[in-house]
């Protein structure tokens, strides 16, 4: 059977089978695809079979306590904290970005005072961004190293948590603990870009980017460095406590 031929629906099903089977171990993927071909399975049958296997594979580890512990002690706290810190960093730096991007005057370039404040501001914002990126990198490394069997599930849950944190939890958290934080910065946050879009850009570039990059790297390593992951985990918790 050649999955690339046949009706449109069949081709779509086989393409979905191809994508879904990427979640299986390479050896198992080959064996299962071979079995489906030999069995003469239709696109929908193949899709149902592979989906069933993937769901079982992902669900099996949840019958033990370890994934729940990882979820409760790392995935949820790190996802929430990173999204809250990211929002805080984005809002803090948005004022400076607005100050220079929306109020740029070429005449200021000749002013020595402008350069003094500009360099100081760039250094300050860079320090915040670097700290956030490093924290995200460490979080991605810890999660990617911790459980090879749960790589995909933990990854998806972590990024869903980041998304939930950025869109729902962080705005509500700041609205509750600091209701008038935008008061003095009204001109900045009256703009939709700085209020809604800029935090998402910061989250994508400084949290999702570094953590996803190292997550994939760490998960691909044979016998991932558990000792370094534990060390990084302790650092993470120390930072969480400090924050």
């Amino acid at each position: 059977m050649d999955p690339s031929r046949g009706p449109m629906m069949t081709r779509v099903c086989w393409q979905l089978v191809e994508i879904l089977s990427l979640m299986l171990h390479p050896d198992e993927r080959q064996a299962v695809r071979g079995d489906l071909v030999e069995f003469g399975a239709t696109g929908s049958q193949a899709l149902r079979d592979v989906l069933g296997l993937v769901v079982r594979r992902q669900a099996t580890p949840w019958t033990h306590w370890r994934p729940w512990l990882t979820l409760a002690s790392l995935v949820v706290p790190l996802g929430m904290l990173l999204s809250v810190v990211s929002k805080s960093t984005a809002d803090g730096s948005a004022v400076y970005v607005w100050m220079y991007a929306n109020n740029w005057k070429w005449d200021d370039l000749g002013n020595a005072g402008f350069w003094y404040v500009f360099v100081e501001t760039v250094f300050l914002v860079f320090k915040w961004y670097l700290a956030l990126a490093c924290w995200s990198w460490t979080s991605g490394f810890v999660l990617g190293s911790i459980s090879p069997r749960m790589i995909q599930t933990n990854g998806v849950l972590f990024f869903l948590m980041l998304l939930f944190g950025a869109l729902v939890a962080a705005p509500r958290y700041f609205a509750y603990v600091w209701p008038f934080r935008y008061g003095a910065k009204g001109p900045v946050f009256s703009l939709v870009f700085y209020r809604e879009t800029f935090p998402l850009i910061v989250l994508a570039l400084l949290v999702v980017g570094p953590s996803l990059w190292v997550y994939v790297k760490a998960s691909g390593r044979k016998g991932s460095g558990h000792s370094s992951a534990r060390f990084c985990g302790l650092l993470e918790w120390q930072r969480c406590m400090q924050w």
């Binding site: 050896d27 080959q30 064996a31 071979g34 079995d35 071909v37 030999e38 079982r56 594979r57």
Partner: protein, 106 residues
């Protein structure tokens, strides 16, 4: 004690001997039970049986009829044969004196 699906797999793999692999075992089970057998159930149970030491699996050579993909070959171990035998004995013993046809008619 193994479960009934584990017993079906062990029986099929024992019957198939050198030709025991995923698709063939699935076909045997479907023929025997006259019910569908999902690949998900089959492969996760194969893993469980292997973890218990009842079977050993290895990747076979790729074949053209499978689009150049290898088979997951299955071999039942002595422990697996003993477990299947115990299950069969238990079911036979439990069924002693019971006629399902008579019970169904009554």
């Amino acid at each position: 004690m193994i479960g009934e699906f584990e017993y079906l797999i062990l029986s099929a793999a024992t019957r198939l001997r050198e030709d025991a692999y995923g698709a063939a075992i699935r076909q045997e089970i479907e023929d025997a039970t006259r019910h569908g057998c999902s690949i998900g159930a089959l492969y996760t149970t194969l893993d469980r049986l292997e973890a218990k030491g009842f079977i050993k699996t290895r990747m076979g050579d790729p074949t053209a009829e499978r689009g150049g993909r290898p088979k997951r070959m299955v071999r039942v171990t002595a422990m697996g044969i003993r477990a299947a035998s115990d299950f069969y004995t238990a079911v036979t013993r439990a069924s002693r004196g019971v006629s399902w046809i008579r019970v169904a008619v009554r």
